[in-house]
Symmetry: C2
Subunit: 452 residues, 2 copies
């Protein structure tokens, strides 16, 4: 057992842990920072689906870079598994280390969530969750190598990406999901476009009927039965049914959990103990619009939280904390990008928000005769009376991945459609829509038409 001491200790080295470490050093150059993590190698979390198709093709290609340069080099890394946290004595105990700290950041991430209907399947040889640990990804990759039929349960973006990547290398893939895929992030009108592409890519979609249970024979699953009795035979089942905060350690240490069992934090990512922070998927998240508990888990959001925490360890000094997740994300299905931020129309209805929406569709180049021009669609959602922008959805070519970030900035800055109708944008024939029909502006104009 080695005894160590440090100024700042971070448990976990995912995106949240690493960004917290980097920011802590940048903000406190004289302090010592230790990151403790259970395994040497990590995977880029969002890159995992691409290990299974030809996009990356190997687990090795998705290795998370450790970072280099003067700041990254100052982070001390310890490979060990933390067993307990003693808040009063400011000490953690791992298998082979005890470490005293002044400031502690929990960045313990999330673990797969498995619905109770499927938990008995976890003991079977051919039922998998998508675990973010390096060797578990490798294990699944190897197991799939010689199997043909795969069922993916879950219509979130991980499920969708896994299904399309597996189909791209010839697997016979069935995705079982809700009424529409990506239903949390897209309204029906946008989601059906994604579904069409998935079907074209050879993914069989079984939507609208819940999976009832796993059918087994000895130590193997043979298929899935839906609530309406439909049976799908399979060689492998992948449960892409979400993640839950990994907070057993924090709970045992006596920290308050909240909402979906994330660690309770204030806007500067502090727990009730001002020396202890939590960032990333293990933190208790609030929604940006309603401030209700949020289940959204995104590496980009984790990074933003980590930057707030890393800069607030010794004093709150930034103008702005982390004021709730705007649930901003993007993905690629076939050769189309789908991106969403804030609330959908469906969620606005569920949340009893008096909203209006505006839609615009055009080409992503101008004139439309530019060789790689393709369609681009933008939907904006705003509060009816104030015009405050609270959501957006984009479908387009790869640039849609950044267009959503324009909408995200508008949401986060609480701008209204009035700011967008005369928005100054750069437009260029080879790069963007026409100045006359820039879709964010047109969508905002269409909202204005409704409200006036």
């Amino acid at each position: 057992m080695k005894n160590r001491e440090t100024d700042i200790l971070i448990i976990g080295a995912g995106p949240a842990g690493m960004v917290a470490a980097m920011t802590a050093i940048q903000s406190n150059p004289t302090k010592q920072v230790i990151v403790i993590k259970p395994y040497e190698k990590s995977q880029v979390p969002c890159g995992i689906p691409y290990v299974f198709g030809n996009t990356l093709g190997t687990v090795e290609k998705n290795a998370m870079p450790c970072g280099s340069g003067p700041i990254a080099d100052k982070i001390q890394k310890i490979i060990d598994t933390v067993q307990s946290v003693d808040i009063e004595n400011k000490t953690i105990t791992a298998l082979n280390h005890t470490i005293k700290f002044d400031k502690l950041i929990f960045a313990t991430g999330s673990i797969p969530f498995v619905h109770k209907n499927f938990q008995d399947g976890l003991e079977l040889e051919n039922v998998f969750t998508i675990d973010k640990e390096y060797h578990k990804v490798e294990e699944l990759k190897n197991y799939l190598e010689e199997r043909e039929k795969v069922i993916v349960i879950g219509d979130g973006f991980i499920g969708v990406e896994m299904a399309t990547e597996l189909a791209s290398v010839g697997k016979e893939v069935t995705l079982i999901g809700g009424r529409h895929i990506l239903g949390f992030s897209f309204d029906e009108d946008m989601a059906i476009e994604a579904e069409e592409i998935m079907r074209d890519l050879g993914v069989k979609l079984a939507l609208g009927e819940h999976a009832k249970h796993i059918i087994r024979k000895d130590k193997m699953a043979t298929g899935i039965e839906l609530c309406d009795g439909t049976f799908f035979e399979t060689d492998v089942i992948i449960l892409a049914t979400g993640y839950q905060p990994n907070t057993a350690l924090a709970k045992d240490a006596g920290l308050k959990l909240t909402g979906y069992d994330g660690i309770w934090v204030d806007e500067f990512m502090r727990t009730r103990n001002k020396d202890i922070f939590a960032v990333g998927d293990c933190s208790g998240r609030r929604d940006f619009i309603t401030r209700d508990s949020s289940k959204v888990m995104l590496a980009s959001t984790s990074a933003a939280e980590a930057r707030v925490a890393g800069g607030s360890l010794y004093k709150i000094k930034h103008l702005k904390g982390f004021d709730g997740t705007i649930a901003i994300f993007s993905t690629m299905i076939g050769n189309r990008a789908f991106a969403s931020a804030g609330v959908t129309e469906k969620r606005a209805t569920d949340e009893n928000i008096d909203y209006v929406s505006g839609f615009a569709q055009g080409m992503n180049r101008h004139p439309a005769t530019i060789p790689d021009a393709s369609k681009q669609s933008v939907k904006l959602i705003a509060m009816r009376e104030s015009g405050r922008i609270i959501g957006g959805q984009v479908i387009g070519d790869k640039e849609a991945g950044e267009i959503i970030n324009i909408i995200g900035l508008a949401i986060e800055s609480k701008l209204t459609i009035h700011s967008l109708i005369s928005l100054q944008v750069a437009t260029q024939p080879l790069l963007t829509a026409a100045p006359t029909t820039y879709p964010i502006v047109l969508a905002a104009q269409n909202i204005l038409k409704i409200t006036h």
Copy 2:
């Protein structure tokens, strides 16, 4: 001579005129809108350079769409050349029409600016400006067909785009410009990357020495002599030396001109006469940061002004007018996109602004092993004390064309780097930089490091 009457009359049908017409109808559905323009066919202004290479290849492919749908169909178009505007009697006189109006919008655009050193060249057969009229573009295209050596004078984006497109179809092109190309929009560190690509594409760059005059023989230019005596022989000279507001008509009508001879307007694009508006390149522009007169001419800015005017014809009702140009633009050189908004470091120095800048470079996909990953660079410029963002420059793949629009929104919304360091962005392996190294955030963090 036909006599007509209308509620709203718009002179000019470029991007500004057409957007003003569309917005006027949307905002005032019961009013009649007439657009008067001298020619039937128009070109997409920003698409003109691409007519000369293989990107579009023909003038026809760059035809400006007239717009269709219920709103566009309500616009009445008259092909005629306006001769005079009688403000007192609210009537214009064209060659074949007189039209009485209630509200008038000048959208007369801009005409090529030619430096006095070259004005004598305009009478020569092989010296051209880049005029936006359809038949003039066609004329230049035809003339170039059988010529080999071309000199482009001007290092702005039109000059750069013309030079690269002409080189791409085998012309021997020399571009004569200032110390660095695109010097108005990019600092030296960014511009040299553009210059390297241009040289790789076969464009000869003659930078840092002004062109003194055109050398002629009879009715033909034979070359250009620089101030240091260097001589460049050529078959054709293209003057891409900027544009000036086309305001002779407005001046004759007695309207006040300002700055670089644009029509003076307030923030809602109104001239001193509240029934007469001016939008687009013919309007007198102010800079967003300093409110000094601005020479910047961009179709996207014109469209924003036109939206403000079209919505403000009968009553000022929007929360926000047009509060100065942020000079936001993008272009593509080879397979790299270059984009800029707000002030450069150079201009900040010239304007005596106490600024700081932050730079970040990374990959536009994550992990970097994603097949189409390439480098992405972002520079942000902020006021030192307040952290207010006043400029940004981006180099990357095509998505850079939208990344600049995130920065543009930050500039226009007067956000500070504090908003950006914890910015929530969508990141995705196939679409964007990593959540841990998103370049706008890192550039903002690097500014914070300097100022704290």
